[in-house]
């Protein structure tokens, strides 16, 4: 499932996916989507963390996580 960051010149593995809606002037940032899609863009962690949107737009970072970092022993 390794895909590269969409930022030009960045070869890092993608860690997040963003989508947007012009009419709603909203950008959504999510954990990396399971599959690539022409209407979404993958970013590495650094570029996802630094993502900014134009003035008047809203960025919704939905990469919600547990407040503490959860582990799984299986």
């Amino acid at each position: 499932m390794n895909r590269a960051c969409a930022r030009p010149g960045c070869g890092e593995n993608a860690a997040a996916t963003f989508t947007y809606d012009y009419r709603a002037r909203t950008t959504w940032l999510d954990h990396l989507a399971g599959e690539a899609h022409p209407m979404s863009y993958d970013l590495c962690k650094v570029h996802a963390d630094g993502l900014s949107v134009p003035r008047g737009w809203r960025l919704e970072d939905r990469r919600d996580t547990t407040p503490y970092g959860a582990a799984l022993a299986y």
């Binding site: 499932m1 390794n2 954990h31 399971g34 962690k45 990469r63 919600d64 996580t65 547990t66 407040p67 503490y68 970092g69 959860a70 582990a71 799984l72 022993a73 299986y74």
Partner: protein, 237 residues
Amino acid sequence: MTAPERHAEVRWGLGDAALGWVLAQIGGAIAVAIVLALNSDVTDLEDLSLAWVAVAQLGLWVGMLGVPLVASRLKGNGPVRDFGLQSEGWDPLTGFAAGLATQLFLIPLLYGPIFWLTDLDSTDLEDPARGLTDRATNSFGVAILILIVGIGAPIVEEIFYRGLLQRSLERRFGVWTGILGSALLFGVSHFQLLQLPALVTFGVVLGVLAHRTGRLAAPIAAHIVFNMTTVLFLVGR
């Protein structure tokens, strides 16, 4: 008054634990190879459905569960007596509290300095767990997920690590070598570097529970609660 129940001295030990671990790794590798061969369109294990993950997991569990069961039957008094595969009194509740406390308090305490000293954060720690829980996209997937991490892994791993391995190490080298040794192998065997401190720490908690109670019910309950807390957080968000 009846005569005290006598049990034959057990003859299983570290050799059986080593055999179980090696067979588990070989079984796991063979199962993964078979699963990948049957899913020729899949090149990355992370793309497998949870049903196929469960099949691959069975290969690992055959050795991990089979060797302790066979060894305790052939060289001891059976798994119930030899490994303390039973529950008494407060065991489940003690395990419940220990599993929840480790997941919610001990691990954050442990990783606070790691996150502070590096550019890693809780998202990185959760990555392997999320890679699994994200595949539970319907009720069947959630059921398979619970079967793997909420039931199968806790029972199989506790019988192997706290039952066979820890007791073998304790008999030969003493209590703390048993607890620490089994916790270390438990952590390393998950092959996840960032998660290693959490898994070794949790292994110590499980080892202490197994030693203090003399039974596996408390560590199995702790393991179930530890995993299910993560599953509930990640699937239910």
